[in-house]
């Protein structure tokens, strides 16, 4: 069945291979990025949501 369907698309066999390569490379780059990125930068990023509580004057953590 799938052969029957897929044969009608030119070079269909290369599609999954191309998708696989694109994503394999993308995730390799992503992992490389994640493992080599500066810890200081990651710390800055992860503290972004908490920044306003540290700096501005709006209600500071009213207890719920």
């Amino acid at each position: 069945m799938e052969k029957n369907v897929l044969q009608h698309i030119d070079h269909i066999a290369t599609w999954p291979v191309i998708s696989f390569i694109i994503f394999f490379l993308f995730f390799l780059c992503l992992l490389w990025w994640v493992f080599t990125v500066d810890k200081k930068f990651i710390k800055e990023m992860s503290e972004l949501p908490l920044q306003e509580d540290l700096k501005d004057s709006t209600p500071k953590n009213p207890s719920v």
Binding site: M1, V5, L31, L48, L50, D56, T58, P62, V64
Partner: protein, 709 residues
């Protein structure tokens, strides 16, 4: 650098949160009504506007798009401004977005009970509303991206990534799945037919769960959990991997909704494989959330916000493990079409979505009104009512699902079905349905308690419509604070980021769809499958209008228990003229794919008038209006023309003579009814419905006859 003073817009957040609470109440009340209808059919009120088939989509749409939708927008408008240290891009766009969305909800609340529906799950709204949704969604996107472009914070926090992916993907899903050809202002036919339509629909349906009920909520988790716990997320690195792997893998998993159907095997397998892979990013994200509380678990005892978040993430982890397991063909064979799926969905909706929304509301409302929560005790009571509600909802449904499934499949020693009469399997689970309604009531009671608590909180405080804040403007030139180029590849390039997310989700969609779009010419043709006659077409449209697909499937799966009960399993070639497909996703009643010719015309007539009188104990509502309302013959030509345009081979100019054929077929049915002592006008809607039901599954039987020498 000099600090700039600016104001966060809290008014728009307040508006979205009020809408969240109001539509949450409405959506859950409708859901509870639908649940009660399943054991006390009298609560269908014998009114066409309130039957289960019509209010079930009202419930799902109200919860997904009105309750959850408004909650998402409120949370995005609150957190986006603060994460980017700027006011929303345009107040006007914010308000156009708000009122546009509420008008869409109003349109849905009117049209769905009226029976204007495409029948495609979570995409039931008709084409003019689809266009309105597209416009409002684009306005939301412009407002969000505009805000990002004029931010005072260089980097985009991971929550914003999830919001962007939500915007991009929902836009693509909605547009692709809404391709339909209009017949009238409130009637259209899906562009796709049969197998293709099913694939597109469940690619959409699955990803509506992924990108409307999951990604924005993960964004909310990444913002509100650190705020509520007052500590940064456990691992920001993990959140980056979480994001990319989740959006890439999710988009492929749609076909797991179609296991054992007529969808080609390769697509089914693809769905299964990617569903299993989904466990990794989903659990990665959930663990990242729970681990954020490391060292702060003592606070969970005291803080209702954290309690709600913990249960929400726990429900999420359970649902995202259960989902992939349900995608295994052997598990799916037992659970699909049963109440198990209803339990699974509600674990996600009540636990993950509901509880996270409650946490966000309990956290945000006191802050926006510059006060403290009116009653912590009441919030705790809400927490327990909600938790018990989820348990009382889910457990009976799991038991019910298994019971149903085992009864459907049970054979006796002689090889015959033990429960030959489907009704026995329905009656057996009614007590469990009652328990489910109790669970739902508990959950709703908690919700009402929260509403009261929040209103009292708001009255005790003073609303800060414009909240003052200060931040330094963004420097034109980026000065890296921490090293080389690769630290700023994506986080400070919102447009590139959006495009990459789009590419990630498109690849999965395209690889699955392109072959299936071409299937049409490759589906093993069944020469005896012919387009519907004009009368059957009208009947089919009434079947769609009444939401029959909510309880009856038209998909006999290749199991012996099903071929024994219903007849030959369904083939892809049988659905080539089905715009839209009506395979269904739940069997509250029996499958109807092969019902044609099984009963007499008068049986159907009596059954639709008083189901309980024909099948004692039936919970199907009666449909008295089908006997009074007449078929609208003026629409026949338009329907034929529309379907011809999308590939149904009606002969040229057939629309001119179609009504003659229609009347002829109607007279045949009325005379057969007359022979059984039933007088009915030949233009009554019931005649069209009977014609349609008697047609179902007949084509393939004709094929068999032709094959015989």
């Amino acid at each position: 650098m000099e600090l700039q003073k600016f104001y966060y817009d809290n008014k728009i957040v307040k508006a979205f949160y009020i809408a969240t609470v109001v539509f949450g109440l409405v959506g859950m009340l409708v859901g509870l009504t639908a649940a009660i209808q399943l054991f006390y059919p009298i609560f269908n009120f014998n009114l066409q506007y309130t039957t289960f088939g019509r209010i079930r989509p009202l419930h799902t749409n109200a919860i997904i798009f009105a309750f959850v939708g408004n909650a998402i927008f409120g949370a995005v408008y609150y957190s986006l401004q603060r994460l980017l240290k700027t006011r929303m891009f345009s107040d006007l766009l914010s308000w156009v977005h708000f009122w546009g969305w509420q008008l869409i909800i109003l349109a849905a609340a009117i049209t769905l009970p009226l029976g204007f529906t495409t029948s495609k799950e979570y995409a039931e709204l008709e084409w003019p509303i689809d266009i309105a949704i597209t416009i409002v969604w684009v306005i939301f996107g412009i407002n969000m991206i505009g805000t990002i472009l004029r931010r005072r914070e260089r980097h985009m926090y991971v929550a914003i990534w999830f919001y962007l992916a939500t915007f991009v993907t929902v836009a693509v899903l909605h547009i692709v799945n809404s391709f339909e050809i209009p017949v009238t202002f409130f009637k259209s036919y899906s562009w796709y037919a049969g197998v293709q339509d099913a694939l597109v629909q469940w690619w959409y349906g699955h990803n509506a769960v992924a990108f409307f009920l999951t990604t924005p909520f993960l964004g909310m988790m990444y913002y509100y959990l650190p705020k509520a716990a007052n500590r940064p997320v456990y691992s920001y690195k993990l959140s980056i991997i979480h994001f990319w792997s989740l959006i890439f893998i999710y988009i492929w998993a749609g076909p797991h909704h179609l296991l054992y159907t007529s969808l080609p095997d390769w697509a089914q397998s693809l769905g299964t494989v990617f569903s299993i892979m989904l466990i990794a990013p989903s659990w990665g994200g959930a663990l990242n959330g729970l681990m954020t509380l490391r060292g702060a678990w003592d606070r969970v005892r005291e803080d209702p916000v954290l309690k709600f978040i913990v249960v929400a993430i726990t429900a999420y982890s359970m649902a995202v493990l259960e989902g992939p397991l349900l995608s295994l063909k052997n598990v799916n064979a037992i659970t699909h079409f049963t109440d198990w799926i209803v339990a699974h969905v509600h674990l996600g909706a009540l636990g993950w979505n509901g509880f996270l929304v409650f946490a966000v509301l309990y956290w945000t409302i006191p802050r926006m009104w510059n006060t403290t929560l009116y009653s912590k005790k009441m919030a705790n009571a809400h927490f327990w009512l909600g938790t018990l509600g989820i348990i009382f909802y889910a457990l009976p449904m799991y038991v019910s699902g298994l019971t149903q499934s085992l009864m459907w499949k049970e054979f006796n020693a002689d090889g015959f079905l033990v429960y030959k009469n489907f009704l026995e399997t329905t009656v057996a689970i009614l007590p469990l349905h009652m328990l489910r309604a109790i669970g739902g009531s508990l959950y709703l009671t908690g919700f009402i308690l929260m509403t009261y608590n929040l209103i009292k909180t708001a009255y005790a405080g003073k609303f800060i419509a414009n909240e003052e804040a200060q931040a330094a403007p963004l420097a034109k030139e980026y000065v890296a604070t921490s090293g080389g180029w690769h630290y700023r590849v994506l986080e400070n390039k919102p447009i590139l980021f959006t495009v990459l997310s789009l590419v990630a989700i498109l690849i999965g969609g395209i690889v699955e769809m392109v072959p299936t779009f071409l299937i049409k010419s490759n589906v093993p043709t069944i020469s005896s499958v012919k387009p519907y006659s004009p009368l059957e077409l009208h009947g089919r449209d009434i079947y769609i209008r009444e939401g029959c697909v909510g309880c009856h499937t038209q998909m006999v799966r290749p199991f012996r228990s099903e071929t024994e009960r219903y007849g030959e399993y369904s083939k892809a070639g049988e659905f080539v003229y089905d715009h839209p497909f009506l395979w269904g996703s739940k069997r509250t009643g029996p499958d109807l794919a092969r019902v044609g010719g099984k009963y007499s015309n008068s049986w159907h007539y009596n059954h639709l008038l008083a189901p309980d009188a024909v099948s004692t104990g039936s919970i199907m509502p009666s449909y008295p209006w089908l006997f009074e309302q007449t078929i609208n013959l003026d629409l026949t030509a338009g329907k034929i023309n529309a379907l011809r345009k999308i590939g149904v081979p009606y002969a040229e100019n057939y629309e001119a003579t179609a009504n003659e054929d229609l009347k002829k077929q109607a007279t045949e049915i009325t005379s057969s009814l007359k022979a059984d002592g039933i007088e009915t006008p030949s233009d009554a809607e019931i005649v069209a419905v009977i014609a349609y039901l008697q047609r179902l599954g007949k084509d393939i039987k004709a094929e068999k006859v032709a094959e015989q020498p």
